[in-house]
């Protein structure tokens, strides 16, 4: 009996270790010289003293850093911050991905909090209640939580969110200008949060451009069911859609179907052009570094939280990236750029349902 | 000569089989201690012994399920090696297990074909198998439908399938492990007819049983085992039942318990027109009316599955009656939960003692106080009085001769007989008014059985009303004052002890009404 339970425990432990991979074990990749000769390190510390201390960030996210969506948008932003701040000596970060189980995420957040990180980012709206419990226990550590506007009134929690509806609106304008069948399909995950914001903005953009167009929306009830997202796209295409869009990481399946059928695609969160270069028209790309730089500055000044931030078209946190592989007619591109300007200067306004 | 070498099934006869000096050790136990045993063509050799005497070990060695530490097996005077059931089957040895080795969801033909090569390669050849089954059935006068599913068959029919299965595989020598334990008297008779036919045809049979009268009736020779050792082998005609019983137990056995004369008193338990459903949702009891009086044992006879379990559970309050009343000493308790009935001094010795009688992971002491643990002196204001509980347990262990290393031993580590003693101690020591004893001696050895029966009679002498539910007709006949026979959830008849015979009860158990039997109403 004993050897059986031992074996099962071993298997479980192995499984858990593997499923948590790319997590705290990962830092070696981003954090240079962590294992280099200690002599060198002390030497460096002795000669350069305090300023050499890098700004250290940990991030916990529900999906992966290369999901071509929400997770990747944060990872890419951290890489850009690192470049901007002068490389790993000045800024280092670690991450725990695939934390779709909230309890696991909470444990990871708490672990990081005990390890003297300057900033811990809980990159998922589902982590809110965990953070609310953890943050007060570590008053000297700064936390950031997105996407939300709620800091729980805690002095060491920042909140951040994306005005996804803005880029959604622009994508809607582009989609409406390109649709010939006057039917457009949307593949969404769950009707809430960032996805809903994007879809509502998108619908507003379509209707403002051509009120005769039908926008069919399909929420599949999952962030990970690639198969169902792919069937949702097939369904849209069968219903006559010639332009599709969608939000969250499971849309890869939908993009594949759009590519097969030669139907156009508009993306959000991270650039999806690499998946289907011939049909991805444009993507609203999130540049969280805009917000991150502000937060880092505040932390360095001693403000650990209590403020909320937003990325949008105006502050450059959202950028409409056109895919070079797709020959977008000039007048549509111009219209899109005008719309971006209009949203920034306030001449284009719209209301969400 | 060559002709006479063949059995009717076409198989070559096994003239003799000898097991010499067979020794098998299990951790801490010498299960078989240099045992010699032999069987010849054309005889029934009975193997007799209590539980744990080593009968099963010996036969499992012969069938290739165990490997002996010492000893050898000679077949027709030549040594053979039997490493697995496949080997023994190949040598012409078949085994009818006590718990049938049949797959209920498969047909007779599928069960027979299982594990055999097919004439059609990887595809089954059930039509061929069925043909051969019918041939064998004709030769041995066994009625069997190859296409019937096992779950549709009666226990007796299932046993015939087991025999056919062995014959189909060319068995010349058959081991029958407690084959009568699950049969009605009529079915036992039918089995004996088949066995006599097989012996006449030249088969050798090994008959394992602890029912002495059956051994005396069917066997030519008998071997008695005790504690892994052979006590002796005799021609059956030279021994009496009393001899055999004494050899088995190793001391004088009081064979028929002394019942004594007890006056029947007032009715303590009355059932009025009780109906309820079984676990499967089919009718379990259909309008049962019975009463049990002070100072009497009412025996409930019947083939397993005819409502015995439901009857006991309805009385104990574990099963809901769809209609009718349960009356305990004049009070209607139909709607009361089990605990309330127990408080009215109803004791229940359940059929599945390991499942319902004790909590396996609890100690002997804890199990002994299960019923009364919420009452004084065993607990006060919700706190257990462990000292009292321990003293109570020690006392019961002594009084009921429970063989246990200590009161803190877990129930699951006791033997069946000692577990039953724990249950008995708990249920009887509380001075009950009514006792429901369901299969109280099933699976127990002679010594324990004797003890349990003695205790029931003792209670009867004290004026307790006892309902004894048993599938062992001998037990029913030996203990009961009146006998009610259950058939398909109905009481077929209630026969007073003086008028009861195995034949009469057997017919009632099979659902045949007796014109001449005297119905006793009150």
């Amino acid at each position: 009996m004993k050897k059986i339970s031992l074996f099962v425990t071993f298997i479980l432990a192995l499984a858990l270790a593997l499923s948590a991979c790319g997590a705290p074990a990962e830092p070696a990749v981003e954090e240079p010289a962590a294992t280099e000769a200690p002599a060198e390190a002390t030497e460096a510390a002795a000669t350069e003293a305090a300023p050499a201390e890098p700004f250290r960030v940990a991030v916990v996210m529900p999906s992966t850093i290369n999901d071509l969506a929400f997770g990747q948008s944060m990872y890419d932003a951290l890489v850009r911050v690192q470049e901007e701040m002068g490389g790993p000596d000045a800024f280092e970060f670690v991450y725990s991905e695939s934390m779709f189980v909230v309890d696991d995420a909470a444990a990871a957040i708490r672990d990081y909090a005990t390890q003297d990180f300057d900033l811990i980012i809980a990159h998922g709206s589902q982590y809110g209640s965990s953070l609310q419990e953890i943050a007060p226990d570590f008053p000297d550590t700064s936390f950031a939580w997105g996407t939300t506007v709620d800091t729980f009134g805690l002095p060491n929690v920042f909140a951040y969110e994306a005005a996804s509806h803005e880029g959604g609106y622009v994508n809607g304008v582009i989609a409406a200008s390109l649709s010939k069948s006057n039917v457009i399909g949307v593949v969404g995950p769950i009707e809430t949060g960032d996805a809903k914001l994007y879809v509502d903005g998108f619908k507003a953009g379509v209707t403002a451009t051509n009120p005769d167009i039908t926008v069919n929306v399909n929420y599949i009830g999952s962030f990970s069911d690639v198969a169902l997202a792919s069937e949702a796209a097939t369904t849209h295409i069968a219903a006559g859609a010639d332009v599709l869009t969608g939000s969250a990481q499971m849309v890869t399946g939908a993009i594949g179907k759009a590519d097969e059928a030669g139907v156009l695609w508009l993306g959000t969160q991270s650039s999806q052009a690499s998946l289907a270069p011939s049909i991805v028209v444009a993507t609203q790309v999130f540049h969280w570094e805009v917000v991150l730089m502000e937060i880092i500055a505040l932390v360095n000044e001693g403000t650990l939280g209590g403020q909320s931030f937003e990325i949008n078209l105006e502050n450059g946190g959202e950028v409409i990236e056109f895919n070079d592989g797709y020959a977008l007619p000039d007048e549509v591109k111009t219209l899109a750029e005008t719309t971006v300007q209009g949203i920034i200067d306030g001449s284009v306004t719209f209301t969400l349902p | 000569m060559t002709e006479s070498n063949k059995l009717p099934s076409g198989q070559t006869r096994i003239d003799s089989l000898e097991m010499l000096n067979i020794t098998k050790r299990f951790p801490g136990v010498l299960a078989s201690d240099h045992v010699n045993f032999d069987v010849k063509s054309g005889e029934v050799h009975a193997l007799l012994g209590e539980n744990g005497a080593g009968k099963s070990t010996l036969m499992k060695i012969l069938y290739g399920l165990y490997h002996p530490d010492e000893g050898e097996i000679l077949l027709n005077d030549k040594p053979v090696s039997i490493a697995s059931p496949n080997d023994s089957i190949g040598l012409g040895i078949g085994m009818i297990h006590q718990h049938f080795m049949l797959v209920p969801t498969l047909t007779v033909a599928e069960n027979v074909a299982l594990g055999l090569p097919s004439t059609r390669g990887f595809m089954t050849d059930l039509d061929q198998v069925s043909k051969r089954i019918l041939e064998l059935a004709k030769i041995y006068s066994l009625k069997i439908d190859p296409d019937a599913y096992i779950w549709q068959l009666s226990v007796g029919q299932q046993q015939r399938v087991e025999i056919i299965k062995a014959l189909y595989r060319g068995a010349a020598l058959l081991i029958l492990d407690e084959p009568t334990a699950v049969l009605t008297p009529q079915e036992v008779d039918e089995l004996f007819v088949i066995m006599r036919q097989m012996v006449k045809d030249g088969h050798g049979l090994i008959f394992i049983s602890h029912k002495l009268h059956e051994v005396v009736e069917i066997s030519n020779r008998v071997t008695v085992l005790r504690d892994g050792r052979k006590i002796g082998t005799r021609p059956t005609s030279e021994v009496t039942k009393q001899d055999l019983a004494n050899w088995m137990v190793g001391r004088e056995v009081g064979f028929i318990p002394d019942r004594g004369v007890v006056d029947r008193g007032e009715a303590r338990l009355e059932l009025n027109n009780i109906s309820c459903s079984s676990d499967r949702g089919t009718p379990g009891l259909r309008g049962v009316t019975l009463e049990v009086c002070s100072g009497e044992i009412l025996g409930i006879a019947g083939v397993s599955g005819n409502g015995q379990r439901e009857l006991a559970e309805v009385i104990a309050g574990l099963r809901k009656a769809a209609s009718g009343q349960v009356v305990l000493e004049g009070q209607d308790v139909t709607g009361l939960p089990p605990a309330a009935r127990a408080d009215r001094m109803l004791s229940y010795i359940p059929e599945e003692r390991m499942r319902d009688g004790v909590i396996r992971e609890f100690t002997v002491a804890e199990n002994m106080v299960l019923r009364e643990h919420e009452k004084r002196p065993y607990s006060r204001a919700g706190f257990l009085n462990l000292g009292k509980i321990s003293r109570h347990a020690d006392e019961l262990i002594k009084r009921f001769h429970v063989k246990t290393p200590s009161r803190d031993t877990l129930a699951k580590n006791l033997s069946g007989g000692n577990i039953q003693k724990v249950v008995l101690a708990r249920e009887i020591s509380r001075a009950p008014r009514v006792v429901i004893a369901a299969q109280p001696t099933r699976g127990l050895d002679i010594g324990a059985t004797e003890y349990v029966r003695e205790q029931l009679l003792e209670q009867r002498r004290n004026g307790v009303a006892i309902m004894l539910i048993s599938e062992d007709l001998d037990e029913i006949l030996a203990l009961s004052d009146r006998i009610a026979v259950l058939y398909e959830g109905r009481v077929m008849d209630i026969v007073p002890r003086e008028h009861a015979t195995p034949e009469k009860l057997g017919l009632l158990m099979a659902g045949v009404h007796l014109e001449e039997s005297v119905s006793v109403v009150k």
Partner: protein
């Protein structure tokens, strides 16, 4: 708008996508039927699918050979089955717990290998739809049934094949006997261990194919946790199908058809909240299960390790 549901386009759409969606369920659930019929509950299906899915994708991505990808998916699924068999048959491990262990193992390993070996979500050209002259041209039916890729056809051919093996061969007889009464099978010289090894390894191989059907035939991408609970639904479908291949087929089709129906309900703008719509396949499956549960009986030895003597 409700009436739109009954237009030819919509009906063909529902049926065709239902047929596709059912494909991975069929491979995995038929495999699971075999192992459960022999008395082993394999809850690691999801993990085996993920590994198979990744293996097929990786091989196809690097070599461009889809068939090789399929073969490797089968082999790694079977290997996982082999380990599962060792743990359940030889070590008598509690099947539910070890199954979950294998799921987590598959989830983690597929993710790890994906990160290390591929790194980004990529697409490949998967098995193409097969055009069958004549059949594919039949209006309606041709679009629904005969406009699919080879793995879809394979899944449906597997159903009668599984029925045949279970009911008409000596091997099937052994499998059924071992799952109902291993003691009886053992007493007749049938090796319970060998039969269970076979069914668990077969189940693993089929789960591997189920995963491959996603990554190199239906979706042509691989990403982390992309089976998304499909393997667990497949285990449930075995119960739903009363341990019969045809029942499993019925369950897989019902579940998938209702799923594609709810996609259309949303697309057509029928005013049912999306949260309710996505629950439809699950609710309906549970309802059917409740309605039929009384006649369903699991193999008696399911989840019980076999050991000679107590």
């Amino acid at each position: 708008m409700i009436t739109d549901l009954f237009s030819t386009t919509v009906l063909i759409g529902i049926l065709a996508s239902g047929i596709r969606l059912a494909t991975p369920y069929l491979y995995a659930a038929i495999g699971e039927t075999f192992s459960q019929k022999s008395g082993v509950l394999n809850l690691g299906v999801e993990g085996q699918m993920l590994i198979g899915s990744f293996a097929a994708f990786y091989v196809a991505f690097t070599t461009g050979n889809l068939w090789l990808g399929l073969l490797v998916a089968m082999i790694v699924g079977a290997l996982m089955g082999l380990v599962m068999a060792f743990v359940t048959v030889n070590l008598h491990a509690q099947q539910g717990i070890s199954g979950i262990g294998f799921y987590l193992f598959g989830l983690g390993l597929s993710d790890l290998l994906f990160q290390r070996l591929i790194g980004n979500v990529e697409t490949i050209k998967g098995f193409e739809k097969i055009y069958i002259p004549g059949l594919s041209d039949i209006p309606g039916i041709g679009q629904i049934l005969f406009n699919q890729n080879i793995l879809v056809y394979g899944a449906y051919l597997l159903v009668p094949l599984a029925w045949f093996v279970l009911n008409k061969t000596t091997l099937g007889l052994k499998i059924r006997a071992v799952g109902e009464n291993p003691d009886a099978a053992d007493s007749l010289g049938v090796s319970v261990a060998r039969v269970r090894y076979f069914t668990i390894v077969l189940g693993g191989a089929l789960s591997g194919i189920a995963g491959a059907s996603l990554s190199i035939a239906l979706l042509n991408v691989f990403q982390q946790n992309m089976t998304s609970g499909l393997g667990f639904i497949a285990v449930a479908l075995v119960y739903f199908g009363a341990w019969k291949p045809v029942g499993v087929l019925g369950g897989a089709l019902l579940f998938s058809m209702v799923n594609s129906l709810q996609l259309w309900i949303q697309v057509l703008g029928i005013p049912i909240p999306s949260d309710i719509a996505v629950m439809m396949p699950y609710v309906l499956t549970i309802l059917v299960l409740v309605a039929t549960v009384s006649r369903v009986r699991a193999p008696s030895a399911l989840t019980k390790p076999f050991e000679r003597d107590e």
